[in-house]
Symmetry: C2
Subunit: 201 residues, 2 copies
């Protein structure tokens, strides 16, 4: 035998480098050479760890989902009521940390890549639907008196709002500052605090 490498660690570090390049240079700047340089290795090592560029992209996409998922888990677990959990999950998705900003840029990059790459599109749909399902469950828990169709509409609305805020703020943080994002989310959550239905005034 010869020396054994830590494959999982290499995959983690390389997909983190992929992420970093994606956030900084955008989708056109994501090349194997750029990833290798950022990771402090060569393109040979990159393609020994991942079969091809698409495998690297897929792994980085999974990493992004895992990170956001874990943060959502933590936010949800820390809240004591369903409404508070819902608000926490939505707010953390629009949190003002630089790390989150980077994630938003990467998310936009993968969204655009999914438009031309069926594999990335499938991943994106799956992850996004899971996020919608999570939000939908929290909405239903917060408002057990609502019909499922209302919960579904509300959850897609909330997810679209949060992702839209993230996408727009990633390019124009001045127009969409953190405070505005929080206010927007709280405005959208107002119907959940109302004694009426989601569409009633």
């Amino acid at each position: 035998m010869a020396r054994r490498r830590d494959l999982a660690d290499q995959q983690q570090r390389l997909s983190a480098a992929t992420w970093s390049v994606l956030a900084e240079r955008g989708l056109p700047g994501l090349t194997l050479r750029a990833v290798a340089e950022r990771a402090g290795c060569t393109t040979g090592m990159v393609l020994h760890t991942f079969a091809d560029k698409q495998a690297l992209l897929v792994h980085a996409r999974e990493l992004l989902h895992r990170r956001t998922g874990e943060r959502a888990d933590a936010a949800e677990a820390a809240a004591d009521t369903p409404l508070a959990a819902l608000r926490a999950v939505l707010l953390q998705a629009a949190s003002p940390t630089e790390e989150k900003r980077e994630e938003a840029r990467v998310w936009v990059g993968f969204l655009a890549a999914a438009l031309a790459d069926p594999v990335l599109a499938d991943l994106h749909r799956g992850y996004n639907r899971r996020f919608v399902d999570r939000v939908c469950g929290l909405v239903a828990a917060a408002r057990p008196d609502w019909r499922p169709i209302d919960c579904a509409t509300t959850s897609t609305t909330l997810v679209a709002l949060v992702e839209g805020l993230n996408a727009l703020a990633s390019v124009d943080p001045h127009t969409y500052p953190d405070q505005a994002q929080r206010r927007a989310i709280d405005t959208a959550l107002a119907p959940l605090r109302s004694p009426n239905g989601p569409l009633a005034s």
Copy 2:
């Protein structure tokens, strides 16, 4: 002298071809050769009409803004009340036509491109701020009793929702069908029909 070309017409046709390629192949597939092939000419003609690829991109971005702006103008003009105008403007941005779907994909592409291209980022910010201003004006007209800060928050919320719906539906139209988009917008417009403030239940 020699034969004179219709520069404006060529620019229009080439940026339409650019747009078409962008919608179909995504940003990575947007090459001068693909644009030339789609426009039925050669790369030489493309680069005689536009100085370089970036000029072509900029012109296509302006064309996208002009189209969406004109449609918003039409929707706004056809409505008889400020609230109806606001709803029409938002709904046309999420209209279910294939043309609009194409625009959504192109918009996502330009959004991602703006993350790495300062020129496109400036254009994006300018156009988006104009859209927010338009929505803000309609909100203020529909609810003259609201404070400016509430109008601003509501308008950024509505714009983020609409753009988020467009972005998500462009990759996953099944999860975000037209009906769901319309319901989401009407849900978000509910506070404007309420006799209370934007944050009240």
